[in-house]
Amino acid sequence: MAITLDKASSGAADLTSVGRSIPRVEARAKVTGKAEYVHNLRLPGMLYGKIFRSTVAHARLLGVDVSAAQDMPGVFAVYTGLDMLQLIPEPYYGPAFHDQPILALEKVHYVGEPVALVLAADPHVADAAAQLIVADYDELPAVFDEVEAMTSKAVVHEVLKPAGTFPDLKHLKDKRDTNIALDFHLRRGDTEQAFAEADHVFEHTFHTQQVLHLPLEPFVTVVDPTPNQLVIHTASQSPSFVRIEIARLLGWPENKVRVKVPYLGGGFGAKLYIKLEALTAAAALIAGRPVKIALTMEEQFYTLTKHATTLRIKSGVTKDGRITARECEVWWNGGAYADIGPRITQKSGFTAPGPYDIDHVSIDSYSLYTNLPPAGALRGFGIPQLVWAYESHTDMIAKELNIDPLAIRQINILQEGRPQATGTVMRDAGIAPVLERLAERMNWEKPYDKGSGTIRRGRGIAIGFKASISPTTSMAIVNISADGSCIVYCSTVDMGQGSDTAMAQFAAEALGIPVELVKVVHPDTDVTPYDMATLGSRSTYHMGHAVKNAAEDARDKLLALAAEVGLSAETTPIPDIFRKKYGMQAGNIVGTGSFIPPYTPPQPGTGLTTDATPFWMIGATGAEVEVDTETGEFKVTRLVNLVDVGRPVNPAIVETQISGATMMQLGFTLFERMDFDAGQVTNASLADYKIPGIRDVPPVMENEAVDMVQKTGPFGAKGVGESGTFGVSPAIASAIDDAVGVRLMSLPLTAEAVYRGLRAQAGKPLQD
């Protein structure tokens, strides 16, 4: 095959790889069971670790008796926090705060916190031995509710320890006796005066429940303490962070820690930063043997969750429905360790007023410690909680003022070129186009059959938006071999979202070669360069730019090489250029690329900035429901999901990302809730905590990316993975209200809650 460099593409009409529904590069390996996962990895001499966890929510840890476990035949060793201290003098980690010990020291902060680790060659022996460990606790008062945590006497961490990575956390250093891990404030205009002048003022409080990611591949890490370096095989979304953080903990140079990540069976924000890596690494170093820790499905309930929230929102509105002022207070239940919660509090917090053009805005967003399992990022980075509140609130205002739900949104929508709450001007944000297209697909202007008798129908719409977490860095290397084939080295993790395929498309497009000639290497920090992490729908944009830049660099170098040997690169097959230079099939051309977007940090105090984000993600959902008025049961009969993802890199994968995000949020909307008793999760299994299955997919589900281009994006593209989650919950709640006049203000939306609402409406509340 003669491969030449095609002319570099300059516009949409020229695109040959981007914009095509190329089959996923890993599809065959996955369906034939040949794809590589950490769960399948076994090393010679490997020990299995089983974790002994706290059974109390908050206590001083007086001692841990491991003698019976140690004496069990087949047990290699049992380690506690004291053993970690021997190896690592400051054994605390975390992306925002160094608050999480590798194993509990002095205190336990939630039920399920790791207290000790048993190592054995047989995982069943390790499991049985872990059950023989006894911890001695002096119990302390605990706090579980995020609003109570603001003023509670129970303090989860006596002293706050910001990691030093984020400037807006510096003022919290050494702060004592508070559960507030970040308070973010934004002030624009004068809300007080605007409320006083408004025709109407509405105020509502909403709640969301604690849920979790539940990737079908639970957390797993294998660490091999080789003589020259520590090799960490881990199911992680952030290999570069793992390398830097483990090196920091050990006081080693980065290059003594090697992190390798194969495919992931889902991540959704759970497998970020340090999860099992520090514990497994420390155990392997102390034991001098490879160690594997693989959690069970049930243990995932004690790792990372999605913030439960309380959201108070207040609006001043003119009589014709124009919103003049909005005040938002958001309390994020962060659980026992901050993880990335403080970033959610700020980076998502500043969108709390919604995609509306409001002159006077005030936001107070609080990240709270409580004695529950830690909360972090989960597909949407806090946005679905915020959209739930502001879109429900919008519809409640519309109903009170007798304005159509679409009309009130059209009146207030944040148009292109107008400033958002932070003052950042909206660019390439398809809020209005997404809303218009949604209305079209829902036939919103047409009369709607609301049903009769005991079956009533209703419909609802909701729209949300999200900023990309900024500023973050991606690096990539593109290597052209002497036969014209190409390898992309990048640390983006393909966890099911199709990034390998997208990166291959970007490289092929920039080089002007067929996508089949591009291979993408999986993250290996000895080989692939730095990437902040695979999170927040950032890879398409950030790594897309880095790969494009690297490919263009390689292309330039190839053109230069062709010129050097007196050939035209655009007509000569690539192998001939190499052959002419090196006399045989030999050599490489290596292009490098990096990307960090421009960014202006928010001003302290006001939270205002002219450049909050490199791009905006937009997602909207229309829902139709049927409610059984005799029982409160309801069916979602139709879901229409509209997103602005810029130019879809791979339309088929984009559609599955929209539908997947929507179904995940449908679970959080209708079914999922972690139940607690004194901080103990009482439904920690897939038998008791129900996630949606194929029979829960609505009979009609339509997914569409509107025709948009992100002009600053690589080939016009931007992030995709989360936008489908934004509008689901409020659209369904509004559809229920439209059908039967019952407004639910807490998630999940259950048949029983609807039934109780119907009974209350009839003046006959259901007695327990």
Binding site: D127, F671, K690, P692, R695, E752
Partner: protein, 285 residues
């Protein structure tokens, strides 16, 4: 997992010998779908498991006998039942129930005997079999006995079986024109355990209900017939008013348990509505 003995006897008689009347850590299994979950969760640690998968093939056969009754071997998988023409002829309600019973992976290995002996009140077939007035035949060293499914299930995960006694066969009597239906109600995902199960079986004399059996499950400690609700239906022509009375009677009579799927108060309201709906569904068959 602590090591245990796995026995795979070739005959039912040999299997019985391996059981122990006094030792709860010796357990028998058919498909093992429920037992494996209990073992993984650490709530059951066996010393010996006795697999019935290798015993005589006749215990996995389904046949319709001369008197019109259906004899189902206890080791018949739920999938095999769902495909059997004889089941469809005698009791199509069983086929209908199996469609949404757990999932195909479970149905392919779970056996009818295990489904009954596990005595989880959320199971779908027990209320149906009670409504059909089915019986089980048991085997033990001491001999065989026959008892009604209603008498087999004595409580929450409790049966009338001795530890060294096995179900060998299930007999569904001839239905002679009875009309039967089951409604399974889930309030969370479609594949969740039911919040409420209602099974109904009717004999009609023209428009009039001659006899009615109404069984509630899932929301109760064990599947139970609702006598006053049945009485409210007997001798009546079915109207909305009659069904409202049936619902009232059912709601008043049943002892309901609240859980994560719904409070007891809500389940009572569901039963009030679904008792009548199940009667309507039976009538429509």
């Amino acid at each position: 997992m602590i090591p245990f003995e796995l026995a795979e006897p070739r005959t039912l008689k040999a299997a019985l010998k391996l059981l122990d009347a006094d030792d709860p850590s010796v357990r028998v299994f058919g498909g093992g779908t429920a037992l494996m979950l209990m073992m993984k969760a650490g709530v059951f640690q066996p010393t010996r498991l006795v697999s019935l998968r290798g015993v005589e093939a006749r215990y996995a056969k389904i046949k319709k006998v001369k008197d019109g009754s259906l004899h189902i071997g206890a080791l018949t998988t739920l999938s095999a039942m769902g495909r059997a023409a004889a089941v469809k002829t005698v009791a199509p309600v069983i086929i209908d129930t199996l469609r949404t019973l757990s999932n195909v992976r479970v149905r392919n290995v779970a056996t009818l005997g295990g489904h009954l002996a596990h005595a989880d009140p959320h199971m779908d077939l027990p209320p149906v079999l009670i409504a059909l007035d089915a019986q089980v035949v048991t085997a033990a060293a001491a001999g065989s006995r026959t008892l009604a499914v209603a008498d087999l299930l004595t409580g929450y995960y409790e049966t009338a079986l001795a530890r060294n006694e096995l179900i060998s066969e299930i007999i569904v009597p001839p239905q002679q024109g009875r009309r039967s239906a089951y409604i399974k109600l889930t309030t969370r995902t479609a594949d969740d355990w039911p919040t409420l199960g209602v099974a109904v079986s009717l004999t009609m004399d023209g428009q009039t209900v001659e006899d009615a059996r109404i069984v509630v499950s899932a929301a109760t400690e064990k599947p139970v017939r609702l006598q006053t609700a049945e009485a409210a239906l007997r001798g009546e022509i079915i109207t909305d008013a009659v069904l409202a009375r049936v619902g009232e009677a059912a709601a008043a009579e049943a002892e309901l348990v609240g859980d994560a799927r719904g409070t007891a108060a809500y389940k009572r309201e569901l039963l009030r509505v679904y008792a009548g709906r199940a009667v309507r569904k039976a009538l429509a068959t």
